[in-house]
Symmetry: C2
Subunit: 379 residues, 2 copies
């Protein structure tokens, strides 16, 4: 396999962007990434689009050529990849595979979601499509309800507390407040987080990620660059929670983390900082454990002790994460890559971390049925 570099990154701000549509968002991010890489649209040999539910949110399907042509790309393979909240992680994985194996030298990977629209009142139902609609959804379980069950069980098994969950939210809001592109730039206190409006007990509104619009894009190339993909893996598992042996650990996350580390020739302790899929606060805690950063059950205390803060041992979600930066579902996986690269280039402004040679991104689909883990390394 050849070495693959992230040659360019581009993002729109995340938020409720009522003046934009799904195509304008994706085209903006795509053009920024191409420009950042110094690549013309005509040089792109294949286009990989991550999008979860464009047809459901805005009625537009066949999105890959729809966006590519407007970006100036025609004639080449243009394909939409869907893997729930890991849609653009999956697009990135397949794009990396193609460049690493020598099929293409230069490709564009874009993720997009337009969630605020006239279908927003149906957002919980559309998101529930990432779970088992015939079982979980029919039983009334939205995603907050599924992760509430996971949190409750994690509390029971490992003594995780509401304060641990709140510590994730407080930290991610603090980081997001420093990110000019974040959806919700608002610092919160532990007290506020604990007193949040209940969504699905024990989760409050401060435990849940945001409903956002946004897009992110990266150019991957076989030419040597400042940032390269050192390790990557995409894995899968059952979709329905009731088909899993345990709900406090995600085998797909463990396997993706192990494979990516093995490919990079590193251990979790060699990672300088990470972007982790905090769709809910409990998801960040479980991912810290499943990725091997801490022993099982220690994700909460590790966070509460400040080790994942900007100045901590392992800064996590320096972008603000899905909680504060926002979570336009199909954009999230590629946005994580953009945020890693910003740090690795020393361009993260007020939230710049000191050690930024090796970053890890973890993108989760549904309640653990898809996971993509990527490790980037400075050349």
């Amino acid at each position: 396999m050849r070495s693959v570099a992230v040659a360019g990154i581009g993002k729109t701000p995340f938020g409720a962007l009522t003046a934009e549509n799904i195509r304008s968002l994706a085209v903006t991010a795509s053009r920024k990434a191409l420009s950042d890489a110094g690549i013309e649209p005509g040089q792109v040999e294949a286009f990989y689009l991550g999008n979860f539910a464009g047809p459901s949110f805005v009625g537009q399907n066949h999105l890959a050529p729809y966006i590519a042509a407007e970006t100036g790309i025609t004639g080449v393979p243009c394909t939409r990849f869907e893997a729930a909240c890991a849609s653009s992680g999956a697009a990135f994985f397949h794009a990396w595979s193609a460049v690493a194996s020598g099929i293409y030298d230069t490709v564009l990977v874009t993720g997009v979601e337009k969630m605020t629209s006239q279908t927003t009142p149906r957002v919980a139902e559309i998101l529930a499509g990432a779970g088992d609609t015939a079982g979980e959804m029919r039983a009334g379980a939205t995603f907050p309800a599924l992760f509430a069950m996971i949190a409750t069980r994690h509390m029971y098994e490992f003594g995780t507390t509401r304060e641990h969950l709140a510590a994730v939210a407080v930290k991610n809001h603090a980081n997001g407040a420093l990110n000019p592109d974040a959806h919700l730039r608002k610092r919160i206190t532990i007290e506020q987080a604990l007193a949040g409006k209940p969504v699905s007990t024990p989760l409050t509104v401060y435990d849940c990620s945001l409903v956002s619009d946004g897009a992110a894009a990266v150019v991957l190339t076989s030419k040597p660059g400042a940032v390269r993909v050192a390790g990557i893996a995409q894995t899968s598992d059952h979709v329905a929670l009731d088909r899993k042996a345990t709900i406090t650990t995600f085998p797909a996350v463990r396997a993706a983390g192990e494979k990516a580390c093995r490919m990079a020739g590193v251990t979790p302790q060699d990672i300088d900082f990470a972007e982790i899929h905090d769709c809910f606060t409990i998801a960040e805690i479980i991912a810290l454990e499943d990725l091997g950063f801490v022993p099982k059950g220690q994700g909460g205390p590790f966070t509460a002790a400040g080790h994942t803060a900007l100045n901590g041992r392992l800064p996590v979600n320096t972008s603000g994460g899905l909680k504060s930066k926002g979570h336009p579902v199909g954009a999230t996986g590629v946005a994580q890559i953009c945020d890693l690269v910003l740090q690795m280039r020393g361009q993260a402004g007020e939230r710049q971390v000191e050690r930024h040679r090796r970053g890890l991104a973890q993108n989760l689909g549904g309640s653990g049925a898809t996971c993509v883990v990527t490790i980037l390394e400075a050349a």
Copy 2:
């Protein structure tokens, strides 16, 4: 690039299959293909799912791991590919790429669509999502209306007649009547086709493909086999008809055909038989021209002269095509591959053609924004 063999095929019947759901259809086809290839689910290294609009038709998204896990496949990359009516063609192309380039030795590609459901009354609107919803759909143009404009212009430019269109329908219905898995096994006459209920002038109900449920699957492997992929290409173009320089030729089809032939080292005249994307009768006529089987404008007369019949010079859609076999959108691309392989193995029963050493499949997305062309060759 390594040689890639189609080691196994599996299909469900196509039709209005009310007792089946989207997962049961896909799992049935997948298991048949694995069994045909003599492969255990645990040997599958990656799963490629083609599906156009499962979330819109039946509310279920995140379909790749949902279907894979039920088939016995977990832990590996499981991803849904969407490219409108070429969704499973795109999945097949990416799967072929991965095996040809040495990433995997054994992969499963499945296509599925469940179109008859409580959302069937919205089928025209859901299908219109494959076009430009902000332009074409807003102006009231469903897909039959778009292809009616294409047909009208083709008639004006090249003298194509209603009788030419009807000849495509009569031939595909005759073939489908011999296919036990076809949706509509009914021979029709030219008179019947011409007297069909109007859908969008000049197209009648006999010019339009069917709204079907169904699934198809293939196993691709790097091991030598009886049938190998000799040439393949995926290409793209603008989605909206009004963005194209002409609407009587599809540049994406021409490019995909030329690239696939170049890779296979053949000319169109070396192809023994073909499965062509006859979403509308005019689409088969235009594809015959764009793929280089006949000069521009000669698709209608070539068909009316019987050259594409079972015993003709170039048998086209021996399966019955989308017109008679049925068109469960996301299944169509892989179903075409299955139908080529059936002929190449000499297992096509009453519709078996004499020369079946080299077959071509053409899978179209939308009104020409995506095209995948595959050439299979007997070893």
